[in-house]
């Protein structure tokens, strides 16, 4: 249960009136429409604002730099992290708003909208979900985030090196959780570790005391948390409160303020894309400085990913403007495959044939409410 949010389906009617109000096609100085399919309400709304913040900053920067002849404008559709809403919002973005580029998050939403993107030949970029089955969904579905298997794979040697051999997995039984489960099951033994226990939890579970008791029985060296959103904070508190003293580890979904700000999260270790905000490229430093100035907090991986997603669009569209080609899905894709490598926050982003970005993975630890890279 996610709570009484019946209105969310009502969102599918979000723009009955839209076609009347807005001209159907944009020309000249009409803005480029960057559609967003994020949860803006409901339990995962926190992600929605994180994602949007990054994208909005990138638009500001592009405007300040006069990168494009036409401005960019965000058209937000609330998905509540639900696939049904995603498909409806996507149809609207493509058909009514004539979005040039769509940003999406969450594995199930991404999977649901990918076919729509494919049919509409609209480039759709994921910068939040890391389900490994997101690779190659469609030529027009790209990922600007290293998918989970890359994260987890890069993580295992670190765990072994820390002598965290027995891993217990607490996971939500969705494609992402399944992928991590499968990976740990096969890769851990190869690296000399064991999967000491697996604990599937419903997405909406709130009581973790009893689960903690079961986990203690498994006597793990570390507990891997594969959930997302606010539930992660509840898991961490639930486990810590109920006598789990072993290290808690996880993947990039943990880099949200709700988690990092809580005292129980001290010492939680997780992987993410590599960002060096102080010593990195100029783009990275500018992003970090301006983000902090604008939002008053340190940027996280998600902010950076969606900044990158929009920046990628600006770079591609710039190329297309230079050759006076229309900015559409086919041309964007053609340009992506031609250029392949882009200057993004965190360094060079390299894309493979399917449009998946690979990047270096770093290991972080939460210390005093801040995310500190440790490896």
């Amino acid at each position: 249960m996610t709570g009484p949010q019946i209105a969310r389906r009502a969102l599918l009617g979000t723009a009955l009136a839209a076609p009347i109000i807005r001209p159907s096609f944009a020309q000249g100085s009409d803005p480029y429409i960057i559609g967003t399919l994020f949860p803006m309400s409901g339990p995962n709304a926190e992600y929605g604002s994180l994602f949007t913040n990054g994208a909005a900053l990138a638009i500001e920067h592009a405007a300040a730099d006069n990168m494009l002849r036409r401005p960019m404008r965000i058209q937000a559709e609330d998905t509540q992290a639900l696939p049904q809403q995603g498909v409806i919002g996507m149809t609207k973005l493509i058909n009514v708003d004539k979005a040039h580029y769509v940003l999406v998050g969450f594995t199930s939403v991404s999977k649901a909208v990918a076919p729509v993107a494919d049919r509409g030949k609209t480039v759709t970029v994921n910068g939040g979900a890391v389900g490994p089955d997101l690779a190659g969904l469609s030529p027009y579905f790209w990922n600007v985030i290293p998918l989970a298997h890359l994260e987890t794979q890069a993580f295992i040697p670190f765990l072994m090196q820390r002598n965290l051999k027995r891993i217990a997995l607490v996971y939500v039984d969705d494609p992402l959780g399944d992928a991590i489960l499968g990976l740990l099951r096969t890769e851990l033994p190869k690296a000399g570790g064991t999967l000491a226990g697996t604990f599937s939890i419903p997405r909406t579970a709130q009581q973790f005391g009893p689960v903690a008791a079961r986990i203690r029985q498994a006597r793990p060296d570390a507990v891997y948390i594969a959930s997302f959103g606010a539930q992660q904070a509840q898991i961490i508190k639930g486990l810590r409160d109920n006598g789990i003293r072993t290290p808690l580890v996880g993947y990039s979904a943990l880099s949200i303020p709700t988690v990092t700000a809580m005292p129980e999260a001290e010492g939680v270790i997780f992987t993410s894309q590599k960002f060096d905000y102080t010593g990195g490229s100029e783009i990275t430093r500018r992003f970090a400085a301006d983000f902090k100035a604008k939002y008053g907090s340190e940027p996280g991986a998600y902010n950076a990913n969606y900044y990158n997603a929009v920046r990628l669009f600006a770079l591609l569209a710039k190329e297309l403007e230079a050759e006076n080609a229309t900015v559409d899905g086919e041309n964007l894709r053609r340009t992506l495959l031609r250029v392949r490598e882009f200057d993004l926050v965190g360094g060079k982003g390299r894309f493979d044939d399917q449009g998946n970005m690979s990047a270096d993975i770093q290991v972080n630890e939460i210390r005093g409410g801040r995310v500190v890279p440790i490896a």
Binding site: M1, T2, G3, P4, Q5, I6, A7, R8, R9, A10, L11, L12, G13, T14, A15, L16, A17, A18, P19, I21, S24, P39, M40, S41, G42, A45, G48, S49, T52, I74, A76, D78, Q80, L82, P83, Q84, V87, I88, T91, K92, I94, N95, V96, T107, S108, K111, A112, P115, D133, V172, D173, D174, P175, D178, P202, R203
Partner: protein, 291 residues
């Protein structure tokens, strides 16, 4: 643009089917089910599996959806035959919660939380068709059938059961059979809606079949007017399009749009119940159409 309108119309038609069938048991048989989304889901999964495994024939998918949902409606009929009122609502809530867990876990049939992906476009006797005409035809058919049944002897039987179960029994009416039949009919209808939904979205997962969905459909019935033919349809149209205006109110920050929509929506539900409990279509002079 046309694609978008068609998409929206399809969704409205599908939800109108759901609301109309729920109204059949709520408004006429007095069975207040909060588990309608379970049967919507069963139909969707059945339809999706047929399309994935056999062939994407819309008619076949709808029939499969109707059979599976209608057949399993016995799960709901069982408590409905034993208890009424608040108890039954609680039982259907229980069923809804258990079904959500089962839908998430029975991966072979439902694909779990990940859902079933890549459901092919529907065909009808080998010709590819859009879901909109199918949904409209199904809606028309279901409205026609419910109207016929409601006005005829079966509708009277249900209403008599609703008003005074023991008296209906004393007049020789097999209450259990009538209730079960009404439930099977309504749930089969929900199953058809589910199959169409699956074909339309080409993707289904458990998140479309939670209690929230059940309650939304119920709200459509109540707001439109229980026990009326067009009430549920009106309710579906309103609830699916009411928030559209909100999206264009400039003073709402984009991050709060969803919340504001829900607030207005919830408020509308409450105020309507206080000031116009018969629903929008219901005849106010009669008070509520049901008791």
């Amino acid at each position: 643009m046309i694609a978008y309108a068609a998409n929206l119309a399809t969704i409205v038609a599908i939800f109108a089917i759901l609301a109309a069938t729920l109204n059949f048991i709520v408004g006429y048989a007095g069975i207040f089910s909060v588990a309608h989304a379970v049967f919507f889901g069963l139909g969707a999964y059945a339809g999706a599996q047929v399309a994935l495994l056999l062939m994407p024939d819309a008619l076949l998918a709808c029939i499969a959806g109707a059979i599976v949902a209608g057949g399993l409606s016995l799960c709901l009929a069982l408590p409905a035959l034993r208890v009424r009122g608040e108890y039954f609502v609680a039982a259907s809530l229980g069923l809804q919660m258990m079904a959500t867990t089962l839908f998430s876990e029975a991966k072979a049939f439902t694909g779990g939380i990940g859902g079933l992906v890549g459901i092919p476009r529907p065909t009808l006797f080998g010709i590819e068709v859009g879901v909109l005409p199918l949904a409209l035809v199904a809606l028309a058919l279901i409205l026609f059938l419910t109207a016929r049944l409601q006005r005829g002897a079966f509708g009277r039987t249900l209403q008599s059961v609703r008003d005074a179960e023991s008296a209906a029994e004393a007049l020789g009416k097999n209450v259990a059979a009538a209730k079960t039949l009404a439930m099977a009919f309504a749930c089969a209808g929900a199953g058809i809606a589910g199959a169409l939904f699956a074909l339309h979205l080409s993707f289904v997962n458990v998140e479309s079949f939670t209690m929230d969905q059940s309650v939304l459909v119920m709200a459509m019935v109540i707001i439109g007017g229980t026990g009326t033919l067009w009430g549920p349809v009106v309710g579906a149209i309103i609830l699916l399009s009411l928030p559209s205006g909100l999206a264009f109110l400039p003073f709402i920050p984009p991050t709060e749009v969803g919340a504001v929509q829900q607030i207005i929506y919830g408020l509308a539900m409450t105020l309507l119940m206080i000031f116009r409990p018969a629903g929008l279509v219901g005849d106010l002079s009669k008070g509520r159409a049901t008791s």
